[in-house]
């Protein structure tokens, strides 16, 4: 037989042909359907990163080019000076190297880039530590001690319950109240929110990781921690009655000199939850002061170094790992969706002069 001679093939009956073509179609469709199912096309109720960002856009209005949450902020740069005290807990270079450059950002927690500085009591600090070995540690911290809820589903519920009412432009207090009543884990956060006052300065605030992480040392031993950037400058004034004061305060303080925070690691006791950011770790804890964050300069966020950084809390150097806290993966996933959208809109960002006032 010559290689290319077709085998003798009796023609297929019309029924057999139809069945065979149908089977090919079925196999193809089944595979396409399986992919669509995996992508959530048949499960509109599934919580996806894009749905989280969609509800943020719906609640906050659309502000192209800006982060979908915490859009009002300022870039800062400086370095971290390790004390060496955490080197036995984590093999990450940042804890042993003397100096690691840092690109960071201070922000407000609201969803509107033009919110007045006193719109919320919460302030946030995000940092990227750029290790000499090329690995990075990114962290987004908040001045509250705990997160309102412990799961991405509950966070999504919170966003929905606090959506502005189309009639008033403000969240419906009944809806929000009902959410908090049905989510007792929000108690610790609400207790903080009741007494928290908007700080007059980013510099006098202490910022907490809120989520737990695992540190691993060279011997492979694992320690669960939360961390805080503890202010070394005491608050000396109350927030002024003005729309914008945080930027001017930061500029003034940095003009006078670098500003410092202590990185304090809180080591979990047995029984402390690593998977629930809504719960405080109460009682006595061992703490380790890993070093000092020194912030030297600020830059406008529309062209500063922080603009194109996604402060994904799961971009970590070896020696630091995400814990079993379900919010970490959700933050990572949702930040990626926000980053995907805003990086395509960089040209829509208003120039720096108008950052703080509506264009």
């Amino acid at each position: 037989m010559a290689p290319n001679d077709p085998q003798p093939r009796p023609p297929l009956s019309p029924l057999s042909l139809a069945l065979r073509v149908g089977a090919i179609g079925a196999v193809t469709l089944l595979l396409a359907g399986a992919l669509a199912y995996t992508g959530g096309y048949f499960s509109p109720e599934r919580l996806t990163p894009d749905r989280v960002v969609d509800v943020l856009e719906k609640n906050n209005g659309e502000h192209p080019g800006f982060r979908r949450n915490h859009p009002k902020g300022v870039c800062v740069t400086g370095y971290f000076e390790s004390s060496g005290a955490a080197a036995s807990l984590s093999s990450a270079e940042v804890f042993s190297a003397t100096r690691t450059p840092v690109q960071g950002r201070f922000s407000l927690p609201t969803g509107n880039p033009y919110s007045p500085d006193s719109a919320a009591a919460l302030r946030s600090m995000a940092l990227r530590f750029q290790q000499a070995n090329g690995q990075q540690w990114r962290t987004g911290m908040n001045s509250m001690p705990v997160f309102p809820v412990g799961t991405p589903e509950a966070f999504f519920g919170l966003l929905q319950a606090t959506a502005p009412d189309p009639a008033t432009g403000k969240p419906d207090p009944q809806k929000a109240g009902a959410f908090f009543a049905s989510h007792p884990e929000t108690g610790a956060f609400l207790a903080w929110a009741k007494t928290a006052k908007p700080a007059a300065s980013f510099v006098t605030e202490t910022y907490n990781s809120v989520n737990a992480f695992y540190l691993t040392n060279a011997a492979g031993q694992r320690q669960t921690v939360r961390w805080s950037m503890v202010a070394t400058t005491p608050a000396d004034s109350v927030a002024p009655q003005a729309e914008n004061y945080l930027l001017a305060d930061l500029q003034q303080r940095l003009a006078a000199g670098a500003q410092r925070w202590d990185l304090v690691l809180t080591l979990a006791n047995p029984g402390d939850p690593s998977n629930d950011a809504s719960k405080a770790w109460s009682g006595k804890h061992r703490t380790v002061t890993a070093g000092t964050l020194v912030i030297e300069r600020e830059q406008a966020q529309d062209n500063g170094e922080c603009r194109d950084i996604n402060y994904d809390p799961l971009i970590l150097p070896s020696g630091i790992e995400g814990s079993d806290d379900p919010l970490l993966a959700a933050r990572s996933a949702a930040y990626a969706a926000s980053y995907k959208r805003r990086t395509g809109e960089v040209n829509s960002l208003p120039a720096s002069a108008s950052q703080e006032s509506r264009p």
């Binding site: 090329g134 990572s332 990086t343």
Partner: protein, 177 residues
């Protein structure tokens, strides 16, 4: 009669990569639609698997050009033969392009390109947000195009096996007897 069958290395590479590429497409689509711990687990799988596919496709191109490829059946209509040829060129191009676009995209985001907790690849491009946005979109649409081409390839193979009942699927499924 070995010219009737793909060489053993070609067959091993084909089926291994078929599994890897299908897995990769499902991992990719699944991870971007998840906010659970699965998201992180899948991303940590997606990156090294993508680089493995990139390395394998290079080996595969070498194997392809250094061994004989069984000819298509002589009685195959010219249009189908052309479609077969073009779809294979497209498959190879996408197998190469997708890992490279993914790698370049992570680089453009300014993220360290990590395969696991310590193994780091160099950045393919400097960090640049608009470039990231374009590559991120390209990665998505090229992946859909690859999936569509894989489905076409599969449907074509089954058409040869079940309707034409020729030698084409056998030439990849097994060696000479």
């Amino acid at each position: 009669m070995s010219a009737q069958h793909f060489s053993l290395p070609a067959r091993v590479l084909h089926w291994l990569m078929a599994i890897m590429i299908l897995a990769m497409l499902f991992v990719g689509v699944g991870m971007v639609a998840s906010v659970s711990e699965r998201h992180q687990w899948l991303i940590n799988l997606h990156k090294p698997l993508g680089i493995a596919i990139l390395l394998l496709v290079i080996v595969r191109l070498v194997v392809r050009f250094s061994s004989t490829t069984p000819p298509l059946p002589a009685d195959l209509p010219a249009v189908q033969a052309l479609a077969a040829k073009l779809s294979h060129v497209l498959l190879y191009a996408l197998m190469l392009a997708l890992p490279l676009v993914g790698w370049a995209m992570i680089s453009a985001a300014g993220d360290p390109v990590m395969l696991g907790s310590a193994l780091q690849l160099p950045a393919l491009l400097p960090a640049d947000a608009p470039t990231f946005a374009v590559l991120r979109k390209a990665h998505r649409y090229l992946a859909y195009l690859l999936f569509a081409t894989v489905l076409l390839h599969l449907a074509g193979a089954l058409f040869h096996a079940w309707v034409r009942r020729d030698h084409v699927l056998h030439s990849m499924a097994r060696g000479p007897r």
